[in-house]
Amino acid sequence: MSDLDPDFDPAFSTAVSTLVNAAVDRELAGRRVAPPFDRTGSSGGSGRQPRRLVGWTGPALAAAVAALLLVGSIVAIDHGRGRRSATVAGPAPSVSRSADPDLSEAARAFAAAVAGAREASEVPGVSVGPISESDAARFADSGLWTMPGPAPATPVPGHSYSVTVRYVVGYHTDKDGHSPTDGVTVVSGELRDAAAGSCPPPFLARPGHTYLIDCQVTFRPGAAGSVAFTDRNPDGFTGATFGLSDPAEPSASPSISTSPSPDPNEAARVYAEALAGAPEASAVPGVSDRPAPAQRSTGMGVGFTDATVVNPARGKSYPLTLIYTPGTDDPPLAVLTIRFEDVAAGHCPGPFRGRTGHTYRLQCQVTFRPGTEGRAYYTATGPNGADGVGVALNLP
C-alpha cells in the first residue's frame, strides 16, 4: 500500500476500497465459477489467434459501413490514442505487446504507415489548421469526418470532379503518463469504383487539428464512386467512407437501401399489411425494448452490433446482439426486420413494431461464410416505403 504517501488516509482508503469491492462483487454476482477454458481458441503459436466474440471490436468496420450510409453526413470516431506512436521516442509499455499478438500486428502496420507518411503541411491537397474551440469541446478523444460540399447528383462520366472531406481530430484528454506528442496517426484515402482520380498520399494527423483533404474523381458510367479514409493508430484503424453520387444503377454492394414506392397508395398498403402481421417488440422473444438515449433521437436510424466476431470458425453458429435505434427520419411507427447477407446462415427475431425514441436489442445467431465479413441489414418499413441500413459483422 502507499506507505510513502504523506497524505495517505488509511481510514478513507479502506472505506472506498470496501465499497468498490462490494460493488464489483455485486456486479459479478453469480459468476464466481470459472467457465470451461476454450483451448481450441487458444492453442497454436504466437501469431494472430482466433477468438470468440470480442466486445466492442467492431467500430472500425462499423464506422466505415455506417459512414457509407450517411452520404454527405457526418461520422464521428474515436482514435484510440492511448498508446505511444512510433514517432515518439522512449520505450513502449512493457506489458502491452507481449500480451496481445493482435496489437503487435497493428503496431507493426502502424510503424510501416508512419514510415511512409509525411507531415500534412507537406502534402499537396491537404490543408491543416488548429481545431476550433467548439470542436475541441465536442470531440475530446474523438474525431469527426464530414464532406462539407454536396456530392454531384448526376456526375458526367469522364468529367473530373473535386471532392473535399474535412477531418477534425479532437484533443487526447488522457494526458496522465503520456507524452504531449501522443496521438499521432496516419491518414490515407483512396477512391473506389471510380474511373480515375486520386487522393493525397498518406499524412500524419495530430490531435487538436482540422484537416481539409481534396480528392479528384472521375466517375465511371453507372457507378456511384466512393472515397474511403483510414486513420491508422498503434491499436488498429478507424475509417470513414463517403458515397460520392447517386448511381445510375445500383451499386454492387450497397450498404443502404431506400425504396420509396412510386405509388403512395401501394406503399401505404404494404405498410398496413406489414403492420398487421408485426407484433409489438415486447411480445417477440429475443427482442428487448428500451428508451433510446437522447442523443440518438434525431436523424437517421442507427444500427450496429455490440460485438464483432474475429476470425470466425467455419460452420460455427455465433450469437450476436444487433441493436437498432430508429431516428426522427424514420416513421414514428415502422415495421422492423433484419436480414443477413453474405453469411452461410443467420436468424434474428422479427419482424416487429418499432418506434422512434426506442432502442431495440435483438438476440441473433449467425454462421459466417469463410473469408467474408457478413452483413446485417435493418429495414424499417413505413407508410412511405422502406429504408435500410447495414453493418459488418466480423473481421475476416
Binding site: S2, V20, R51, G82, D100, D176
Partner: protein, 187 residues
C-alpha cells in the same frame, strides 16, 4: 498429497496442462474482479480475462509460467490491464460516434438490497471511474487486487514513482468527490 507428490504429478502432464488448469481455476475470479473494476462491464471483463488466459496458455511453456503461480499471476494482471485498456478504447470508439446504448440499469440494485449501501457503492464506483485512466488503473489495482506500488508498477508498465503520484492524485480527487460522512455511514 504432499508437495513433492503434487510436483511429480504436474511433471507428468504434457505442456503444463494440469498446472494451467489449476491456475485457471485459482485465478479466474480475482482476474475477473480486476477486469470488472477496470472496464465496468461484465461482458467486456469476461472477454479481457479470457484473452489473458488465452495468452498465458499460448505461452505456458515459456519460462515455466504455469509452474510459477506468482509469475503467472503477474503475467495475467499485466494482460488484464492491457486488455482492459484496449477494451475501453474500443468501447469509447463506439460510444463516441453512436452514443451509449448500454442498458442504463445494468447494475441496478436488487430489490432486496439495502438502498443506502448500494448508493454508497455506486458513488464510490462512479468516482473511481471518473478518474483519469492511469489514476483509475492504479487505484483499481490497489483496491481490488490489494497490490503494492511495486506490483502495480509491474502490472501497468509505469514507474513506482508514477504509481505513487497517480495514487496520491487519485485519492485526493476521491476525497474531494466523496464525503467522508457518506462513506463512513455506508461502508
Amino acid at each position: 498429497m504432499d508437495t513433492t507428490a503434487v510436483r511429480l504429478a504436474a511433471d507428468r502432464q504434457p505442456d503444463g496442462e494440469r498446472g494451467f488448469d489449476a491456475l485457471y481455476r485459482a485465478q479466474w475470479w480475482p482476474m475477473l474482479r480486476l477486469a470488472q473494476g477496470l472496464v465496468d462491464d461484465v461482458g467486456s471483463a469476461e472477454d479481457v480475462v479470457q484473452d489473458a488466459f488465452a495468452g498465458l496458455y499460448r505461452h505456458r511453456d515459456r519460462a515455466g509460467l504455469t509452474a510459477d503461480p506468482d509469475a503467472a499471476a503477474r503475467y495475467l494482471r499485466a494482460s488484464v490491464v492491457n486488455g482492459a485498456r484496449s477494451a475501453l478504447r474500443r468501447r469509447r470508439t463506439v460510444r463516441t460516434w453512436l452514443g451509449s446504448l448500454r442498458p442504463v440499469d445494468q447494475h441496478a440494485p436488487a430489490a432486496d438490497e439495502p438502498a443506502l449501501r448500494t448508493a454508497g457503492q455506486e458513488l464510490a464506483r462512479r468516482a473511481l471511474a471518473a478518474l483519469p485512466a492511469r489514476q483509475r488503473e492504479v487505484l483499481t489495482l490497489r483496491f481490488l487486487a490489494d497490490l503494492s506500488d511495486t506490483e502495480i508498477a509491474e502490472a501497468t508498465g509505469m514507474s513506482a514513482g508514477n504509481v505513487r503520484s497517480a495514487a496520491s492524485r487519485g485519492m485526493a480527487t476521491l476525497r474531494a468527490t466523496l464525503r467522508t460522512d457518506d462513506l463512513g455511514g455506508l461502508s
